[in-house]
Symmetry: C2
Subunit: 363 residues, 2 copies
């Protein structure tokens, strides 16, 4: 028999995200989770592999959208095709997680959901797995929800924070804290205070709860959404897809954090130092990636003269740099980006401008 802590655990990998900050490598049909940024595998594949060390493939679900379903399947050969679910519209995380909760509950009334983003990096996989196991064990015993809080490296303003409360107990060797509150992305001064206090953790969007508990919370917080999801879930066979297509796109667009977590009366947090990053820009990839002696991340075939601190991506071409510093250079078949690496957060602006100019072919 497998690990009893994980006996009723199911992973729900959230792979429907879109984004523009990795343009031109990322496109509408190939968003961040489908890029190979730091390893030879896509971020999605890495996310699935991390839980495959804990769970059998048939207890892993991947939620994505119809544009990405085929690409997701291609990089997830071991996952049953019926577990790669294409939503007909992007409605943020709450509707997706509600849908997944119904699916799991149907299979296992004691089902515990482990909700995980598909597009983050976690370098300390053993610790990550330890945290998930401890979380699942705590949830199965205590019934209440657990989130993973990341030990902050610095006063990041791009993340939400979790305020740790009192120590609630231990799950195996892992300390469990209560949550005082979830916060929105803070201004820099607040972020500095948070980090200095030692009482705040980054919210990495990783949650563990019983499917039944989640649905109960959703019914309370978002009764209309809960009813619609129940209707979708009740429709079986061929009708299921049709019902999904009809109802899902009209659901409220709201994140699970906002819809449920902040209203959960008692939630727990596991503090973990996982080498985690949401890899939010080319600058972050450059920080995390291997570099040459001049601090360039670049293909082996490239040639760098008096150039330092550059991030170069060019899968099919020899790149030569002469006397340039701190650039991100991304070459693709139809588009080339050359930007100041410190401006890599602004690449989205360029993409919006391309959209305005009607260059749909490049999005």
């Amino acid at each position: 028999m497998r690990d009893t802590a994980l006996q009723h655990a199911y992973a729900v990998i959230m792979a429907g995200g879109s984004g523009t900050r990795f343009w031109p490598l990322s496109r509408r049909r190939r968003p961040k989770q489908l890029l190979t940024l730091l390893t030879k595998r896509t971020l999605l594949e890495e996310a699935v592999n991390r839980v495959r060390g804990l769970l059998p493939a048939d207890r892993i679900y991947v939620y994505t959208n119809s544009l990405l379903r085929a690409a997701c399947s291609r990089c997830l050969r071991g996952i049953p095709p019926s577990h790669i679910i294409a939503e007909p519209a992007a409605r943020n995380t709450a509707p997706t997680i509600g849908l997944a909760a119904h699916e799991i509950l149907r299979r296992d009334p004691d089902g515990i959901m482990v909700v995980l983003p598909a597009d983050h990096v976690i370098r300390r996989v053993a610790r990550f797995q330890r945290a998930l196991r401890a979380g699942c064990s705590w949830v199965s015993v205590e019934g209440r929800s657990v989130t993973i809080g990341l030990k902050p490296d610095g006063p990041e303003t791009g993340y939400g924070y979790i305020q740790k409360g009192r120590r609630a107990g231990k799950s195996g060797a892992t300390v469990i804290f209560s949550v005082d509150r979830f916060t929105e992305k803070p201004p820099i001064e607040t972020a500095r205070e948070y980090v200095a206090s030692g009482r705040y953790l980054w919210n990495g969007g990783m949650f563990i709860w019983r499917a039944a508990t989640l649905l109960k919370n959703l019914e309370r917080a978002k009764p209309e959404m809960a009813r619609a999801l129940a209707r979708i879930s009740a429709a079986g066979g061929v009708r299921a897809t049709r019902t999904l297509r009809r109802i899902f796109p009209r659901l409220e667009k709201v994140s699970i954090d906002f819809a449920v977590m902040e209203s959960i009366s008692e939630c727990y947090v596991i503090e973990a130092d996982l080498g985690w990053s949401d890899v939010g820009s080319w600058a972050v990839v450059h920080d995390l990636a291997p570099k040459d002696s001049e601090g360039n991340t670049r293909p082996r075939s490239s040639l760098s003269l008096d150039s330092s601190g550059n991030m170069i991506v060019a899968p099919t071409k020899t790149v030569v740099t002469v006397g340039v510093k701190g650039l991100v250079i991304v070459d693709t078949k139809d588009a080339l980006l050359v930007a100041d690496l410190r401006r890599s957060q602004d690449i989205g602006k360029a993409v919006r401008e391309l959209e305005r100019l009607g260059r749909k072919d490049l999005l």
Copy 2:
């Protein structure tokens, strides 16, 4: 009847040059003279068009090498194929000009050669044609050689200079000066003195002389070369090509300036302000090319956010720049260059490095 001043004039366009400073757009098989840098036509085509305003096509000769002959022919549809001559080896300008002198002399004992580089830019074409006409007229009357001296824009250290001597006379409205001496590329202090004196002109490699005079001078200065060229010239029919292939590659590698011009007892110069440039680097192209309001030279399809002073060449791709300044970005099928525009003279170093690394495919 055509212009009597030009009755015996023949253009010899020197199109055998190679170079690396426009890599990756320029390659061994597509050097600078075959690039379209500032107009829709190659520099070679522009060079030929400039003299086609003065001379019929059958008095224009283009000397190139076997690697480039086909490409030269493609962009010079109006020139008789037999006038596009492929040398079997690069021996600098003296052997080529000697060969051309024999060819012209065979057709016309009074033939006057107008020797012109294929890879320069001249924006004031009417003035250029006026200078050539005046030069040809002076040569046909006086018998001695004439060179075109360019009015310097600044203390360039990349050019040879011509020291003007006394005023020798007029050819039509054009003043003819004697030449005191030709100089090598000077150090910057010397270049500053030259320009300040007002007595020095840039040597743009444009010479006018009687074919017979040139050969006489060559016999005196380089007797061995002169004999070899005479042997090549004497071989007719099928033998001609074979003799050329056998003898030409062994000729001394020497420029006409060095071989003959500096030893010519009396040479004249026409001072001209032609909007001339030898377009020696991407930085020069950027100086000469049209720019957007931020000083970028870039394709219409490109998108430039907070970027200025860049030189962008990307014939088949959309380039997006964010927050970058003073770069040269050149995209080709197999290679991409991103360099500081002020370092564009150093691109050759990168090419030599590629050669050292065995990347012949990119040269």
